[in-house]
Symmetry: C2
Subunit: 133 residues, 2 copies
């Protein structure tokens, strides 16, 4: 299953996340939607080869919005919380690139932006049948 | 990738989790190790076809020990926290079975044990290339 040197990385962005007192409607006013837009812009500006941005509805981190998750076959998955679309899109993209470059998806601590050091909500090991190491 | 009717389910149990003031050593005294033992016993007693228990080192839920994660190709992954090895092994096994039976790994709310309703720390969508629906 892992016969490619660099499997694609999926960056799931929760588009239903609300921060603070944001109303339920319109959806476009939610910070999750703004996070999706900010990540899209950052990826267009900085390049993001091999990283696919995919909208998700709820990563169950509602109390710590905004949230994103990184996943890739054979790698650990990471859920990152406490994100502000006005400040953290570049940091998330930087972490996604470090994640893409690491064979197990576990970038060294020094390679992690400060917000990522503080805000990993949870991580999930690779499936046994997909492990590369 | 999803050509099997029921892909195997992996139940990751964090064996390094410590609850309360538990010491670092010996590892066997940590609640994470006790959770692994309790789940092993529950699976032997109640049966757990298609569910594989796999020890993990840190699911990044340390502040909400004990933690486990459920994952399977093409399904959502779930990280569940706040678990007590003396009380919750049976509930986790019941949820793992409901998870195994659901094609997307998202059991209906009424099928979730109370501890699971309260304690989902995060969830991660299936990879786009593994989605079944």
């Amino acid at each position: 299953m892992n016969d490619r040197a660099s499997p694609p990385v999926t960056l799931h962005v929760c588009v239903t996340c609300r921060r603070g007192e944001e109303p339920l409607e319109p959806l476009q006013e939610r910070s999750g939607h703004k996070m999706q837009a900010a990540l899209t812009e950052a990826m267009q500006n900085a390049g993001a080869a091999g990283i696919e941005l995919v909208p998700a509805e709820c990563l169950s981190g509602c109390k710590r919005s905004c949230t994103v998750a990184l996943a890739s076959p054979g790698k650990w998955s990471y859920v990152i919380a406490d994100l502000d679309p006005a400040r953290h899109a570049g940091d998330i993209l930087a972490f996604a690139k470090a994640y893409a470059a690491h064979p197990e998806g576990v970038p060294a601590w020094r390679e992690r932006p400060e917000i990522v050091k503080r805000s990993v909500l949870a991580r999930v090991p690779p499936l046994p049948q997909e492990r590369t190491a």
